[in-house]
């Protein structure tokens, strides 16, 4: 019992790998990660009655696609992401991943929140390994665990910080650890809920480049929720505009610019303006929010 207890606090250390070429590469031919969202409605009941958060959301996200969901605060974009993640299960409708109806959380979806939500008592290595904690020991050997953890720590560029603790990391680094933790279970979909909102402007731009690099390396489907129009246009294959109260899909704008995108490019500015116009159209979101105040 004592050893089991102390296990919770002991840091894991890995032996260096002899055969580095054995690091797994995701099968490029197996294109999985289709997300099909069919939400009739999602309501929250509070003391002041029920609030309709989402209504009639129909959206299909292709495998390997990068989709950004943009909307103002309170438009239900976080709720939508939490439904896909399986953290909200009380709603009318269904969400399918590769044709399978989702009923709860699962390792097939990795989630990064606005706050890093790292465990202060674990090293970077063990925090990333926490993404595999739910896997039974017989399903993944200790060596494989270590290899995967190492791979993702390397992918987010934190090799030198493997045995540091979260309080020793900057905000951007903590968020990198959170991304590695979300990816370590080889999810088909990566869900990001305003992941860079609490970072400073320069770190945010750096992290946006990083998430594209990671996405290109992993080829997972990515759904990123943001209120930052430029971020959405910089990252996404498609920008989904969510109009508020109740949250519903306002419009979907494809962004066909080649990457890496230039934020000052004329075409980039044009797309950004159309997203902006969509969000701030008369009778659109700002109008609605203003009416409610």
């Amino acid at each position: 019992m004592y050893t089991r207890l102390t296990d919770s606090f002991r840091r894991t250390r890995c032996e260096p790998f002899k055969n580095l070429s054995s690091i797994m590469v995701k099968d490029g031919f197996d294109r999985r990660g289709t997300v099909k969202i069919e939400i009739v409605q999602k309501a929250f009941s509070g003391s002041k009655g029920t609030l309709l958060a989402l209504k009639d959301i129909l959206l299909t996200i292709d495998p390997g696609e990068f989709v950004c969901i943009v909307g103002g605060s309170g438009c239900g974009k976080t709720t939508l992401l939490r439904i896909i993640a399986g953290l909200e299960t009380e709603y009318e409708g269904s969400v399918f991943l590769d044709g399978k109806k989702l009923t709860g959380t699962g390792l097939d979806r990795g989630v990064v929140f606005q706050e890093h939500r790292l465990l202060s008592w674990l090293t970077v290595h063990d925090n990333v390994g926490f993404g595999l904690a739910g896997l039974p020991a017989q399903e993944l050997s200790r060596e494989d665990r270590c290899r995967d953890i190492r791979h993702y720590i390397g992918l987010v560029g934190l090799d030198k910080f493997e045995y540091e603790y979260p309080h020793q990391l900057s905000g951007g680094m903590s968020q990198r650890v959170a991304i590695a933790r979300a990816l370590v279970g080889h999810p088909e979909v990566l869900l990001l809920d305003e992941p860079f909102a609490s970072l400073d402007a320069l770190t945010r731009i750096r992290m946006q480049q990083e998430i594209l690099r990671i996405w290109e390396a992993e080829r997972t489907t990515v759904v990123l929720v943001t209120h930052d129009i430029e971020e959405a246009v910089y990252l996404a294959d498609r920008v989904v505009i969510l109009s508020p109260q109740p949250g519903t899909v306002g419009n979907i704008l494809p962004v066909r610019l080649p990457r890496p995108r230039d934020r000052t490019d004329r075409e980039f500015v044009r797309v950004r303006r159309s997203v902006h116009d969509e969000l701030f159209a008369p009778g659109g979101m700002t109008q609605l929010v203003a009416d409610n105040f």
């Binding site: 089991r4 207890l5 102390t6 296990d7 919770s8 606090f9 993640a85 399986g86 953290l87 959380t105 699962g106 390792l107 989630v111 929140f113 706050e115 939500r117 465990l119 202060s120 008592w121 926490f130 993404g131 595999l132 904690a133 739910g134 603790y165 279970g185």
Partner: protein, 283 residues
Amino acid sequence: MSTAEQNRRHVWKGATEAITAEAPENPGRIHVYRQLDDRLLGWIIPVSVLLVWEILARTETLPPNWLPAPSAVGKTIYQLAVSGELLKHAVITLSRVAAGFLLGASAGTIFGGLTGYLPGARKLIDPSLQALRSVPSIAWVPLFLLWLGIQETSKIALISVGAFFPVYLNLSVAMWHVDPKLLEVGKLYRLSSFQMVRRLILPAVLPEYIVGLRSGLGLAWMFVVAAELLGASRGIGYLMVDGEMTGRAAVILASVILFAVFGKVSDWMMNAAGRRLLGHRAR
């Protein structure tokens, strides 16, 4: 003015001078003052008091049977140690504290864990325990004596009651307040209930739990004094009563010092164990 009074005045004057000598007299000497180690500064008052006390007792300004000199108290402790009396009494007091603390802390851990983890158990048990907590624990003494007799059982029961509540409260409240955002992370990665407790809740509440254990241990020491004062034939508390009955103030003071030393040492050990468990989180 009697000679005794003159002596006292003289001594007091001396003591004041000793203290003010350390203080800066002009701004140019401030750096000397700053250079003094903080810990050294903290010793000035106790050392001075001991010195004054020793002198007052030696000159018999104070009756020795009322306030014996520090050296006399030290001698008493030495004599108790040499005769084996000290060991006999210390062992019995220590084992009472250990048994009572283990019992109380275990019960506190079980009930605290239960009420912290299961909202239903909290609603069922917590109000009753809170009501019991508002009873001053010494008020249990007559009942414990009636039920459990004047032997060890009633004493250990009283100490357990003392140790129980801080452990129970700290653990229960800490578990209740574990960040739901972290629990959500556990849910995301499909941790089993057991893994949730072992990998998330337990490490998250550990700092508060250790604080609870430390205050529980402190209260255990408080209650062993109460238990031994109220009826014991052995133990350091009994030494105190014996000292009072036979008018030996040195024995009472020696017991006080022994309690202080034991309490401090056990707290220090508990703290060290806690720091070890907390690892890098301890400051």
